[in-house]
Every structure is written in structure tokens, then in C-alpha cells.
């Protein structure tokens, strides 16, 4: 950790929390000016590397020196905007930084295939704005600032999803529906923040928590809680509020789906954890009640219903999108336990799910890149024509089911342990049933890939093997490998998840 902390010169390291947001934001403008897509990609790559290095450095700083509080522009909190990094948001920074970097490497061939040449620079620019917004939500310690960054990331997300229209015009309607629902979600969130401001007179998250602890909770803070949970729930695709997600993931460019599936909903879920645990105390009666009767129950319903819906999808990416909704259900269940063990299981699953879904959507992108396939039945025989990508896909999908030797097993193990600790047998049963349902939809994909023969080409000969470009293969294989590696070396991720849970449950 000391090594990470001294990764950057002290003068830069001090400003790392600000730089990690500012660099992508400025580089977005630079990328937009680039005359050709490949230059814009270069700018994006450099930015992503910088962000990854900064996130590692911040991890080092936080684990050696404790909570970082950065006063933006020198205005001291609680009046000024505070950037605050503790053990809860460090994992998210790392996730966005490193998975973001892998996705950017993956982007070049994928974007060249899917986006019109003259739009590529603007596409990368919009992606960088989204990237900056997600990092901003993660790092800020100011409630209203969360809203602003949430909307910065969301508005740019709508545009980059709509870029999928080059391949399928349904991307436009998907993006429009996401825009309407996303805006309603953000507006609900901002109403909630307004109520909190009424009740506490401050916008600083840490300050809000202190004031609320002193004054107690009244009807206004209860209303704020409801609005914030619904608003962030929409952004995080919590079960009944997930309707925007399947189409958005199914029709966006492949690179966008891979990036969003592994970061965007996770960041919104982090914001939810931050508000529910740090601002409202989990021991306050209405919060505790919402854990058991809202998060846990709805989480279990999500695990069931979304998994069943996934089984019957014809579009491969849509299938995995429904699976994502089900996985958010697992995280909700962990959060709903309201214990440190439950929350750390939830955080662990959040990170692991990013590893799985990143690899899965990248592999589907590789299939689409080489053969233009999107539907489940079109995946037939890809195991023979694209063995490397199919192998990565298989590892990640087994991880999704929770087969031992993959990280999916680790996080489900911790979820089950936490549920048993709480005495929630029904939750364990739900986890088992949901895993079986996951097996059912994953089996559909895998049997198509490995069991069926590839469709004969025009001349009646089987199509030759096609290797995906190394820039697609490398990040995908790395994520797939991580799915196995972190089963055998679970300590780093489990440690991060535990520290995150302790950071919010342990009083401070």
C-alpha cells in the first residue's frame, strides 16, 4: 500500500481527488476536437490510464493515511464542496478506473465497427464526460454535487446509448425511455436532497449525518429518505424500477454496454449505500424497517422475477441485462440484512459482478464484431469458430451462476453466510433458486455456443476460425482470468469489501 501511495509525486498526490474528476472532464473537450476517431481514442486511453493510476494512488493514500477530505477550491467544508474518499468509495473508484481502462482498450476495434467515422471523436468525448460524471458521483462528499455528477454521467450516457442506432434503430427509443425514466429518478433524488437540506440546513453529507444524529428524524427526513431511495433506485435499476435497462443494454454499442453494465449501475448503488448508511443511520427505526421490508423483500423478488425473464429472452444481450437486474437483487438483499457482514457481501458482489458482466458483454461484443450475431440462437457453434472468446465467455458465465473456482461462488458464499448469521433461511433458499435459474439461462447460451454446430456458410462449408483482435481479447481474457484469480486470492477484494462495510457501519 505504501508503494501505491508513493506512486505519484506528493504535489500531484495531494490533488489526486480533484484530478481524477477534472482530467476526464477536460480531456472530453480535447477528444471532441480531434479530427479522427483514433486520435480521440488515444486521448481517451491516456485519460483512462491517468485515472487508473490516480485511483490506485488514492487507494494507497486512504489505506495508509485514512479518510481523505479535499476542500474543492480551498473552500473548507461544510460550506465548500468537499471531495471525500474513505474505504467505502475507494473500491468504486478502483472499479471505475480499472474496468474503465480495460473497456477503453476494448473500445477501439469495437467502436470502429459500430460508430460512423465522423462521429467517433464526439462519441469518445461523450464517453469521457460520462466517465468523469461517474467518478464525480463516487468521490464527492456533497449531496447536491452527487445530483450534478449523476446528471452529467446520465445525460452523456443517453447520447452514447443512442449511438447504437447505426446498427439498430431501437437504440433511439431505448435511449429516449432511459432519458425519461432517468430524469424522473434524478428529479426524485433532488427532491429528497431538498428535503434533507430543509431538515438539516447543510449539503455536506458528513455534516448532514451529524445534524440528523443530533436532531433526530422527523417526517421531513422520512420523506427525503423515500424520495432518495426511489430516485437512486431508478438509476441503479433496482427491481421494479429497472424497465429502462434491458433495452438500453441490448441496443447500445457493445463497448457502451460493457462499460455501463460494470460501472454505471454500481456507482448509483454506491450512492444509495452512502445515503442509506452514512446520512440516515441504519439503526433508525424507519431505515431498519425499510431494510427488512423493502430492500430484502424486493431484492428477493428481483432475484426471482428478473432471472425468470432472462430465461425467456431471445436477444443475448437482453438476456444478460435481465440477469443484471437479478444481480442487483443480490446486492439489495445484502444491503437489506443491515449488518456489516451483509453489506460487505453486497459490496463484494458489486465488485465481482462488474468483473463477470464486463467479460460477458465484451465477449458478446467480440461475437458481434466477427459474425454480427446478437440473438441467442445465432451463437450456435461459436465455440468452434471463436474458441478463445467463447472460453472467456464460459468462465464469466459460470461465475455468474456461482460455480466454485470462480468469484461468483465467493460472493454468494459470503451472502449465504451473512443471511445465516441473520437467521434468514428464506433468503438462502431464494439464493439457491435464483442460482438455479441463472444456470438455466446461462445453459441456453453455453449450449448454443458449445453444443451446436456452426451454421454452414453460403458454399456449404463451415466458416473458418476467426480470432478477435487482440485489443478485444486482452481485456476480456484479463477480466475472465480475474474471475478465477480472485477466487483463489480472495483476500484483496474481501478485504476491500469488509473495510467498506466497516467504514459506514463502524460509526464513522
Amino acid at each position: 500500500m505504501d508503494m501505491l501511495a508513493s506512486l505519484l509525486p506528493a504535489g500531484i498526490a495531494v490533488h489526486a481527488p480533484a484530478l481524477i474528476v477534472v482530467i476526464p472532464l477536460i480531456m472530453a473537450a480535447v477528444a471532441a476536437l480531434m479530427p479522427r476517431g483514433i486520435f480521440a481514442w488515444g486521448v481517451t486511453l491516456v485519460t483512462a490510464i491517468a485515472v487508473a493510476v490516480l485511483s490506485l494512488n488514492i487507494l494507497g493514500q486512504v489505506s495508509t493515511g485514512g479518510v481523505i477530505s479535499y476542500a474543492m477550491g480551498g473552500w473548507l467544508p461544510p460550506v465548500g464542496i468537499e471531495l471525500r474518499v474513505d474505504m467505502l468509495n475507494v473500491p468504486l473508484l478502483l472499479l471505475v478506473g480499472i474496468v474503465g481502462l480495460l473497456c477503453v482498450i476494448y473500445a477501439l476495434p469495437s467502436v470502429a465497427d459500430e460508430i460512423a467515422k465522423k462521429q467517433q471523436s464526439l462519441f469518445y468525448s461523450a464517453f469521457l464526460v460520462c466517465f468523469a460524471g461517474l467518478l464525480g458521483v463516487t468521490i464527492t462528499g456533497d449531496a447536491f454535487n452527487v445530483f450534478v455528477f449523476l446528471e452529467i454521467s446520465s445525460i452523456s450516457t443517453y447520447t452514447i446509448i443512442a449511438m447504437g442506432a447505426g446498427k439498430d434503430r431501437r437504440a433511439l427509443t431505448a435511449s429516449y425511455n432511459y432519458l425519461v425514466l432517468g430524469t424522473i429518478g434524478a428529479t426524485f433524488f433532488v427532491i429528497g436532497v431538498g428535503f434533507l437540506y430543509m431538515a438539516t440546513g447543510t449539503l455536506n453529507i458528513a455534516d448532514m449525518a451529524a445534524v440528523l444524529e443530533q436532531n433526530g428524524h422527523d417526517r421531513v427526513t422520512q420523506a427525503a429518505f423515500a424520495f432518495i431511495v426511489v430516485g437512486l433506485g431508478l438509476k441503479a435499476a433496482m427491481f421494479p424500477l429497472h424497465v429502462w435497462l434491458p433495452n438500453a443494454y441490448a441496443f447500445a454499442p457493445n463497448f457502451v454496454t460493457a462499460f455501463l453494465a460494470s460501472t454505471a449501475t454500481k456507482v448509483a448503488f454506491y450512492a444509495l449505500i452512502r445515503f442509506v448508511f452514512s446520512v440516515f443511520h441504519p439503526e433508525v427505526s424507519f431505515v431498519a424497517m425499510s431494510f427488512t421490508w423493502l430492500f430484502a423483500v424486493v431484492g428477493v423478488i428481483a432475484m426471482m422475477v428478473a432471472s425468470v425473464q432472462a430465461v425467456f429472452q431471445t436477444d443475448a444481450r437482453r438476456l444478460l441485462a435481465y440477469s443484471s437486474v437479478a444481480q442487483v437483487g443480490y446486492m439489495m438483499l445484502g444491503l437489506g440484512m443491515g449488518t456489516a457482514a451483509g453489506l460487505s457481501a453486497s459490496m463484494l458482489h458489486l465488485m465481482n459482478h462488474a468483473l463477470m458482466k464486463g467479460a460477458l458483454f465484451m465477449a458478446l461484443g467480440a461475437f458481434a464484431l466477427n459474425f454480427g450475431v446478437r440473438r441467442v440462437k445465432d451463437l450456435a457453434g461459436l465455440g468452434q469458430t471463436m474458441p478463445a472468446s467463447s472460453a472467456a465467455f464460459t468462465v464469466a458465465s459460470l461465475s455468474l451462476v456461482g460455480v466454485p473456482l470462480t468469484v461468483g461462488f465467493t460472493s454468494k458464499w459470503y451472502l449465504v453466510t451473512a443471511a445465516l448469521e441473520r437467521g434468514w433461511w428464506w433468503a438462502v433458499a431464494a439464493l439457491m433458486i435464483s442460482s438455479l435459474l441463472a444456470l438455466a439461462y446461462v445453459a441456453r447460451l453455453l449450449s448454443a455456443i458449445w453444443m451446436e454446430t456452426p451454421p454452414a456458410g453460403k458454399a456449404g462449408v463451415a466458416p473458418a476460425r476467426r480470432l478477435a483482435p487482440w485489443m478485444v481479447l486482452a481485456p476480456m481474457s484479463l477480466l475472465a482470468f480475474a474471475n478465477i484469480y480472485f477466487f483463489f486470492h480472495a483476500d484483496p477484494l474481501v478485504g476491500l469489501a469488509r473495510a467498506a462495510a466497516n467504514a459506514v457501519m463502524g460509526g464513522n
Partner: protein, 158 residues
Amino acid sequence: MLEIILERFNYIPIIILMMTGLYVVIATGNLVKRLVGLSLFQTSVFLLYITMGKVFGGQPPIIVGDYHGEDAGHGAEAAAGHAAEAAAGHGAEAAQHAAEIAYSNPLPHVLILTAIVVGVATLAVGLALVVRIREAYGTIEDDALNAADYSLETGSAE
């Protein structure tokens, strides 16, 4: 009951606007009208913020007259330091003067400036999407769009 409502009369138009906006978003099948509803919904929240910054009897948050923070501090200091009656009277008066002026809270207004910008950006992106949808589908009615997508799905499934 009536008293409670009257005390909070400023929230009534906000709630009406909010519900109208949300209803329009849900009820209309026209994509542009849906964006209009969305804007109405957002605008009601701007009003909510602005109204919460209002302090009854409060002045606009601009420091008026010859009052200066430093002078008041100086006055109070003088009052504490020298027991001279006149000075004490002056210092106390200045401090009292400062405390008496109730200002409206300017912060929600500033926040809402940001939220307005966000709202404008959302509306712009939304309208741009509607233009593209119109180009791609030739309609902006939800039913017709669903029908077009459905035929696309069944058509490509063959």
C-alpha cells in the same frame, strides 16, 4: 387541518405542477409532449427549492447600508475592551442591528441555477433524440413506434 394547509400554501402550486407533469409523462403517447411533462415536473422542483429559501420577513440576501462585518466586530471589541457607556451602546446597537436583519437563504437559488442547466441539457438531448426517432421511424407516437419495433422483431425472426 385547514390551518395546516394554509400555512403551507406555497407548496400547493408545486404539488399541482409536479403531479400534472408526472401525469403528462405517463399518460401521453407523444414523445414531445412527454418531454413537456418532464420539464413541468422538473420546474416544480425548482419552485420547491426557491420556496424553501424564503424566510418570512427576510430581506434579499444583500448586505445593505453601512453595515460591515469588520466594523461590527470592531464595535463589539470596543464594547468589551472599554467600559465607556457610549461605546458599549454603539457596539451593542451594531451587533443587534446585524442580528435583526433576517436574510432569505440564497443557497437554494444558486443550487437551482445548476439544476436549471441540467434540465435544459436534458431537454435538449431529449428533443435531439426525438428528431432522430422521427427520422428513423417517421413517427413520434408511442403506439406506432411499438408497432414498428414489433414488426421489426417478427420480421427479422422470420
